[in-house]
């Protein structure tokens, strides 16, 4: 679908990821994602839009840890979209990402079941932002009530702001002008974000890497998150 204006894409270099979780924290802060608390996390109800999946390889003491940052893959053919009865999630024609409209969601959780990446997050309870977290809520983003599905948006508010600025200045959005919170906070620069439709962008160049792969590519969901294979990066 190259005729579309943008194809926002995330490149994640697994060779660079140290599993430090800075991106997870940044994501919580940017997107008003509440903290679930110890008990809920133990049940499997962590609210991270972005999580670091850690896989162990080998036997002790020759143990390797591999980290895969996982979030909504912004599929071109997203399985979550057609199953929603109320169009709460749909494919944006302009940004070419998978949009979640919180106010339309009635909480059937069908989308979450149909996501092969299990990337969707449900508000099991009303969110709480204890002092002083309430002081840093992002005004660009709504706070979601209980019973609503949410997920990584590629920091759509930042994409929109860049688009509006560019339009006001009557120019195209420049490469590197949009940086999602995770990419901004990554100390090793493992995340690169940009427009795949611009052949000169950093993501377009990195996407031509021989190390590239996409998760569960055989399903045909056409994810917009491209991983670069990790070689021997390990901790332990």
């Amino acid at each position: 679908m190259s005729e579309q204006p943008h194809r926002w894409t995330m490149i994640i270099d697994l060779d660079r990821c140290t599993g430090c979780q800075a991106c997870v924290v940044a994501c919580h802060a940017e997107n008003n994602v509440p903290v679930a608390g110890e008990d809920e996390v133990r049940l499997g109800r962590a609210m991270h839009w972005l999580r670091i999946e850690r896989y162990w390889e080998g036997e002790y003491p020759n143990l390797k840890a591999r980290f895969v940052p996982m979030m909504c893959q912004q599929c071109e053919n997203a399985p979550c979209e057609p199953v929603c009865p109320v169009f709460a999630t749909y494919h944006s024609e302009v940004e070419n990402v998978n949009i979640q409209v919180y106010n339309r969601c009635i909480g059937t959780r069908y989308c979450a079941n149909n996501c092969p990446y299990i990337a969707r997050i449900f508000n099991w309870f009303d969110p709480e932002f204890p002092e002083p977290l309430n002081e840093q809520l992002n005004p660009d983003i709504s706070v979601r009530r209980r019973g609503i599905m949410e997920k990584c948006t590629f920091c759509i508010q930042r994409i929109r702001r860049a688009e509006e600025t560019a339009e006001a200045e009557q120019r195209e959005v420049r490469d590197g002008e949009v940086t999602p919170a995770c990419a901004q906070s990554c100390p090793t620069d493992a995340f690169v974000f940009g427009d795949l439709n611009d052949p000169e962008s950093r993501v377009a160049k990195l996407a031509r890497s021989r190390r590239r792969f996409r998760l569960l590519e055989e399903l045909g969901t056409e994810p917009a998150v491209i991983y670069l294979k990790g070689g021997d990066a390990y901790v332990g």
């Binding site: 199953v83 169009f87 009635i106 059937t108 092969p116 990446y117 019973g147 609503i148 569960l216």
Partner: protein, 475 residues
């Protein structure tokens, strides 16, 4: 070729066919009416006690627990990532399955003119309507924002947004709605002449009620003609609707990309499972009705014998589909599929899975071939109750078990229902029993006119040395 018989000849003692067959044992209309009207008014202490207890359970489950869940959030249920659907959806599929009883027994047996259906049609049609009401509550209970359920209704609204007809949930809603309307009207139409009978033979508030419900029925030729035509159209129309309903319920799973769910056999597999559990539930309910409402004249061993055979046949059919699904998963060898099979064979759900195999296959196959079991109260009651336990387990495993295993092993999980889910489930079961108990005291549970029609059509005919029942094609 010898003419000698190779087996020892057995002298067959002929039973009196009148004792065996309701339709060969006609009684005066007055007596038939009397029996059914008396059964309707049979409300002893036990009945009221049961009604009060059921009412209390409904309040606790559907007002208390559900209210608590709405006010607090879905988190009070046991669902969690990645098991986003839990007991509520399993209950939903289960009750939709039960709702297939009435239509199957009533419509299919009517279309094929199976005469044993006559006294049992109404009792099973009532199950269809009430099971659908209970099933219909579950998608609402299950919604994260129940108070916004009407956003799924297609009407021109202020937001100018129509629902998404790509979604299997929309198909589901429309199918269930069609089925609920269809089956309720199908329950009501053949009821009208019996309501008129009740109107003519009761007094007080009952008479006032039946007068309204009977719509002014007299039984003229034209009225009968229209009614019979309509019942015929309904019987033929409701069968494909019934198939579509459970097929679409299975498509809620089948349309996804989840391993274990994404299967084209799910449609017929679920339909057969639904009829299996529905017909078993008909046997369970009618056994209890017969005992508590003293309907021994109408509901005879011959009827339970016939239902028992149906249960056995559908146990065979279900096993076939179950095996076809299992074998495909086993042979395909996809990693997640293997994990699902391991989960069932020796994972956390293994005890349930083996229990299902026993109640759905082993017990029916070992018992229901036997005429004595099919005709005994406890025998048939326990077998059919067991089948429904097994069918519930099947749905529970498919919904909650399969969701715990995913393609990326980091996303595996577990699921345990909480007390909220348990109370709501008990509340909904109580709703079904409550509705059935109360309505069975309000409307004639046996279609008197259909039984009389059958008794007029049936005669005994002598063939050789035997008196055999024969049916006149009146219709």
């Amino acid at each position: 070729m010898s003419v000698k018989a190779t087996t020892t000849p057995v002298l067959v003692v002929q039973e009196d066919p009148r004792e065996e067959h309701l339709l060969l044992d006609p009684r005066p209309t007055k007596e038939l009416n009397g029996m059914i009207l008396e059964a309707m008014q049979r409300t002893g202490k036990g009945f009221w006690l049961a009604v009060i207890i059921l009412g209390a359970l409904i309040l606790v489950g559907l007002v208390g627990a559900w209210g608590y869940q709405i006010l607090t959030g879905m988190g009070v249920a046991g669902i969690r990532r990645p098991v986003y659907w839990g007991v509520y959806i399993a209950n939903f599929v289960f009750w939709i399955g039960i709702s297939h009883s009435g239509t199957f027994v009533s419509a299919i047996l009517r279309v094929f003119k199976a005469e044993f259906r006559r006294p049992i049609t109404r009792g099973s049609e009532m199950m269809t309507s009430f099971a659908l009401i209970v099933a219909g509550m579950y998608p609402l209970i299950h919604l994260g924002r129940t108070w916004r359920f009407y956003w799924m209704v297609p009407y021109p609204n202020q937001r100018h947004l129509w629902p998404n007809f790509h979604s299997p949930l929309m198909w589901d809603m429309m199918a269930i709605f069609t089925y609920l309307i269809g089956s309720t009207l199908y329950l009501y139409l053949p009821l009208i002449p019996d309501l008129a009978m009740a109107r003519d033979n009761t007094t007080g508030w009952r008479q006032k009620l039946y007068r309204i419900l009977a719509l002014g029925w007299r039984g003229t030729e034209a009225e009968w003609h229209h009614l019979k035509t309509a019942i015929n159209i309904f019987a033929f129309a409701i069968i494909p609707v019934m198939f579509s309903v459970h097929t679409i319920v299975s498509w809620d799973f089948g349309m996804t990309m989840k391993t274990g769910w994404h299967s084209s056999i799910f449609g017929p597999y679920f339909v057969v499972g639904a009829i299996f559990s529905g017909v078993s539930a008909v046997a369970t309910v009618l056994l209890i009705v017969r005992r508590t409402m003293k309907l021994d004249y109408f509901l005879r061993p011959e009827h339970f014998d016939a239902i028992g055979k149906l249960v056995l046949v559908f146990s065979f059919a279900w096993t076939y589909f179950f095996f076809a699904d299992y074998l495909t998963e086993w042979y395909g060898g996809e990693a997640v599929g293997k994990e699902l099979l391991t989960l069932q064979a020796h994972g956390p759900v293994a005890p349930l899975w083996y229990a299902m195999l026993i109640t759905n296959i082993v017990i029916p196959w070992l018992t229901l071939w036997n005429r004595k079991v099919r005709r005994s109260f406890w025998g048939l009651l326990l077998v059919t109750l067991g089948v429904n336990v097994g069918m519930y387990i099947e749905r529970y495993i498919i919904v909650t078990g399969f969701l715990t295993r995913n393609r990326l092993p980091f996303d595996w999980g577990a699921y345990n229902p909480t007390w909220v889910e348990l109370l709501i489930s008990i509340g909904s079961l109580s709703t079904f029993i409550f509705l059935y108990a109360v309505v069975s005291r309000l409307i004639p549970l046996v279609p008197i006119w259909e039984v009389r029609e059958g008794q007029i059509a049936h005669t005994l005919r002598r063939v050789g040395r035997a008196l055999v029942p024969s049916v006149a094609e009146l219709e």
